[in-house]
Amino acid sequence: MKTPREILLARHRAAAPQLDAIRHAVVNDLSRPTQAGAWPANLAAACLRLLTVPWRELVLPARRVWTALAAVWVLLFVINFSQHNPVSSVTGQPARPQPVMMSWQAQQRWLNELLTDRAAPPDADRPRNSGPGPRTENGEISFV
């Protein structure tokens, strides 16, 4: 008569050599960091862990949310890019200026004309250089 534990362990005893190999590998890995000159490998492993841990802990658990966010960002980028494109996406022709743009350009032209007309002002329009004289000469100083 055998106990269930005895039966179970006996059934799988053939796997012992492979399990020994796994154990030795893990224990060897454990003792490796203490060896001299292993610090670059440790540093690399630590850096890799720094990258993989946030990925595993932050990104992977909510990968659907991140995917949705990424899709929204891409969509926003596309919309933003298409608004700045001067070439019409339908006709391939340069896009027509918007009415606001046209009125702004008309105002700019009108302002330029005004400025060129006044580029050489007549002498009468020139401001006089004669400023007010010294205050003491303007009149009598009265003391109350």
Partner: protein, 185 residues
């Protein structure tokens, strides 16, 4: 047969200090039970070996999270159980399947189940037919003789559910063995 070491004999404190020999002793003690547990749950040799390796690596990495050294065994099996869930193709179905519990009939079954040599194959076959959630509870009970509270902790299920599953699984096994006895008589 390898005896189940008393928890206080395990060199957990030395392992905490990073002693490779202590880790070697701990792993040697648990490698086969964990493999049996994983294999019987996943029914896959490669997956069983993978679970053993991943469990050992995780144990080395997270030993600081173990608060009571005498709970090392159940802690290690809890890691193994998590790894098994990760390895299961459909975890929600394979390891968390819900079989109707029978909380109304929780009389204790036989504590020490003894199986005759000619019944061994039938025992293994019946074990394989149990739902994985029940099989996990039964394996933890058989392999390490964990308390119900420890099994509940390892499998992350309520204590009442563990009681019910253990009862159901033992009852099913006993029924099979009795039937087998009658057939042979």
């Amino acid at each position: 047969m390898p005896e189940v070491s008393a928890p206080e004999q395990l060199p957990v404190a030395q392992a905490r200090a990073g002693d490779p020999a202590a880790w070697n002793a701990l792993f040697r003690r648990y490698q086969l039970p964990i493999y049996v547990f994983a294999f019987e749950l996943l029914r896959d040799e490669q997956a069983g070996r993978d679970v053993v390796q991943e469990t050992f690596l995780a144990a080395v990495r997270h030993l600081a999270s173990l608060r009571e050294d005498d709970k090392f065994g159940s802690w290690l099996f809890a890691i193994a159980h998590q790894k098994c869930r990760q390895h299961a193709r459909k975890p929600a179905e394979v390891l968390f399947d819900e079989v109707p519990e029978s909380p109304d009939a929780l009389d204790d079954g036989p504590d020490e189940l003894l199986i005759r040599r000619e019944q061994e194959a039938a025992f293994m076959s019946q074990l394989a037919q149990l739902p994985p959630s029940h099989r996990a509870v039964l394996l933890l009970h058989f392999l390490e003789d964990f308390s119900l509270a420890d099994i509940a902790r390892v499998t992350e299920t309520p204590l009442g559910t563990v009681k019910s599953r253990l009862h159901y699984a033992k009852k099913a096994l006993c029924k099979l063995l009795e039937a087998d006895n009658e057939n042979t008589a």
